[in-house]
Symmetry: C2
Subunit: 298 residues, 2 copies
């Protein structure tokens, strides 16, 4: 099966799961307005890259998609919450995402803040709710891993550093090390967790988890470099969101130019692929995922 | 020891724990600005009622405070995150809390949104991080219980219903049942979980957990009725926040008048105390907590 088909199949599985989770929120008494806003922010497309990484990572250890679907959905819920909050007027102030109004444009600001809060909470609900069938030690490890990747030491912290640079001009002259740290927190941490989750689910040996973490780390950097390249080269119609906005932010690779960024991407792809060596041909889809992240057009 | 001293002792324990958790976020690489905002929203006073309920509930089953402190801190982190987000301009637009600037007044809106997000995430991190010493089945049950109480079916859902009433005038004529459900979700769910957490921690029998849930449910309703009374009777100097604002919101008891509210409170206190009968004198502090909630002056 071609990579794009595998990605679409994973996306289909996770979207069915996300829809079921949101239906259960409704059935459990969540207000219709809130659930609609959560649906808008969750079921309006997206590549579903992170849940696919969870499913593919789990498959390396013989786990079927059903066994990893709760974790895959939880990661995507965190990703979707972060997009809703990042788009808010007080943050990036984006009106459009994936060609549709952002949640605060469609539902208003307070509903968008609450929808993000509720999706973040639902991610942990989903991990813990799966525990009747799962090993509770695994559940606790997944909760800790997802929280660490998402919170002040991870994604939320990275967004803070990004907005400090953009809105406050702090630090005045960001070093390459600062920007790399910012990106590792903002984008990298959740990608790394997505890659590691399968190993956690399977109680895999530490070396296997570390190999996936290394792959995820290189993938995360590549994701960001590719993003910067798209921002330099892209046009609004292809990317589907406002282009050029990131130039005000701390971007590392824009400064070095297009060719340097492309060389960096090639090295990152080689590193990511090399990290998967212990898994043999079973990791081919993850190898292709690295190429997909690097050569995507939006 | 008098109730006020026991409450102060519990507050001292949980504040030390919260400070340590925030220090650990800093040490783990969280940005100083974000951690400062999290501290402002977490370590600026407050009654610490919810963590005291966790500690007292756990004590009923012979658990020492140290065994329940992670859960107590997690509940308070969720409470503090909710105050930060509720105070935002897009929600209740409050400038002052506990006599100090709210987090968005002190740090700006985007930092306040991120601080709330990071505190919510830290609550689950704290529950799961305790699992090395704890029974992972208990960890998973605590994560699920806290998520369910806090998310779209609980606190976030209740805040949505409250803002729909206040900002959108929906429903046009809220029924008593609607307002009771709103309050049970917005305030009650987290109080019920706080009361139940000790039973979860101790793997107590279902009847014991149910007795604490009943106590917590009555306490939650009483909390809200007392709040409405304070709003009717209070003045800004005593309450330490803007008074009279809630009259625009859906308040059940304001409409019935002061005397009806007082009679309702007496019945709720009797119910709450009765629910604790199985625990004998060990539950005396929880009995006093009901009186404290009902007769508090802010």
């Amino acid at each position: 099966m071609a990579f794009s088909q595998r990605l679409a199949a994973a996306a289909g599985l996770v979207e069915t799961k996300l829809a079921a989770l949101l239906d259960a929120e409704s059935a459990g008494g969540a207000p219709p307005r809130l659930v609609e806003a959560m649906r808008h922010g969750t079921l309006s497309g997206g590549k579903r890259l992170r849940p696919m990484l969870v499913l593919e990572g789990a498959a390396l250890f013989g786990l079927k998609p059903e066994a990893a679907l709760d974790a895959a959905a939880a990661v995507e819920l965190v990703h979707c919450y972060s997009l809703i909050h990042d788009d808010l007027p007080a943050m990036d102030n984006d009106d459009v995402r994936r060609g549709r109004p952002t949640v605060h444009k469609a539902f208003g600001e307070w509903t968008a803040i609450l929808a993000g809060d509720a999706l973040l909470t639902l991610a942990f609900d989903t991990l813990a709710g799966a525990s009747a069938a799962a090993d509770p030690t695994v559940t606790a490890a997944l909760v800790l891993g997802l929280a660490r990747a998402s919170g002040a030491r991870g994604m939320a912290g990275g967004q803070c550093l990004d907005l400090e640079a953009e809105k406050l001009g702090q630090p005045a002259r960001p070093t390459a090390a600062h920007i790399e740290r910012l990106q590792a927190m903002k984008t990298g941490a959740l990608l790394v967790f997505s890659c590691e989750a399968g190993a956690i689910l399977a109680n895999a040996p530490a070396e296997a988890r570390q190999a996936l973490a290394t792959y995820g780390q290189r993938l995360g950097v590549a994701f960001q470099v590719a993003d910067d390249l798209l921002d330099l080269e892209g046009d609004a119609s292809t990317v589907g969101k406002a282009v050029g906005k990131d130039t005000a932010k701390a971007t590392l690779h824009a400064a070095d130019g297009v060719e340097a960024a492309k060389a960096h991407l090639a090295a990152l792809e080689a590193d990511a692929v090399a990290a998967l060596a212990p898994f043999g041909a079973a990791a081919d889809t993850l190898r292709e995922a690295a190429g997909f992240v690097i050569r995507r057009e939006k």
